[in-house]
Subunit: 222 residues, 2 copies
Amino acid sequence: MAQQDRAIRTRRTILTAAARVFEQRGYQAATISEILTTAGVTKGALYFHFPSKEDLAEGVIRAQDHQLPIPDRACKVQQLVDTVVLHAYRLQTDPLVRAGVRLSLDQQAQGLDRSGPFLRWSEVGTELLHKAQAQGELMPHVVPADTADVLVGAFAGVQAMSQAVSNYQDLPRRVTALLRHVLPSAVVPSVLAAVDITESRGAFVNSTLHHTHTVPQPASLS
Amino acid sequence: MAQQDRAIRTRRTILTAAARVFEQRGYQAATISEILTTAGVTKGALYFHFPSKEDLAEGVIRAQDHQLPIPDRACKVQQLVDTVVLHAYRLQTDPLVRAGVRLSLDQQAQGLDRSGPFLRWSEVGTELLHKAQAQGELMPHVVPADTADVLVGAFAGVQAMSQAVSNYQDLPRRVTALLRHVLPSAVVPSVLAAVDITESRGAFVNSTLHHTHTVPQPASLS
């Protein structure tokens, strides 16, 4: 167990260093040796966890979609909203999450499959929307996968716009605005009226979780 | 006049070359000398039009928001939709527009103000939505600037997702889905029912314009 703890810490140290170097240089220009220097770990440790630069980037990208255990909500639309606003909150507060999102949008990252996070987040959204529809929270015409895709794509752009114009300061306001513009086309009015989409929702959801801040872990250990 | 024509062509040649180099290298790693070689123009011509790498990037970014003259529509919501779908069409078909959008999303582009395109597109949207609201096409609660911001941010992400998962093949479908999800929260139902948001709208709008393809020109000559 102590050994596992140490491995998790080392992994986290490496990913944080990789995140910083990718942020500064971009994927293409980043080098493993700079990540090694920044992390301050042995070459052996680094290659044990991440055999290549692509694996490092993949690790950083995956840190963003490590699922925090949002407790099941009776209202599935609220659970979807909470998933979105918590992600926005983590994006504002966790450099590792931020680096992952940026890598997904780094169109110069040749050889890196950047479709993963989009598709994984779409799956999460589609599943929640299916459940919402099954219990009558959505209008009958809604196709869960289409609505999930719109939300995921739109979120990626809204965060990029927030970064470009305010360095993420206005992210909660923009995410609330996005949800207010998209949800009425899919959610029945009586459910919509009961859902909390206020700007402080992300911080609130985060405060109710067991972790006070995010510690991404390898899937097998989480 | 002949001299003006030549200047416009040279400017276009340089911007196209810059677009290609920025696409391949990213803003940070791109060099003026590589752009010079790719463009095949004289050093003097390049520096006459664009004194620095930042000016080149600014030129490429501005090419994306060069306004094609969409004729005034009686229905302002349709005019807004046409502006969005035409931009999507140009993104699919014009490498220069694509490079501009990518530069706006290049978070490694240090020293480049990437907020410009977001803010300029927001202004375009806000103005059209104000007109739409004045003639009763929008619901009374709509704040034009907020809805414009959501559309602009969301569009940026939807195009990035389309690029990542399908290399832009599914862009018209995704843009139609975005509009179908956002417009019902803002547009009165009778207007919405009359608006054309089909996937082929972008190609149709483009075919009705005077230019068969886009030739960005300096503002003073357009």
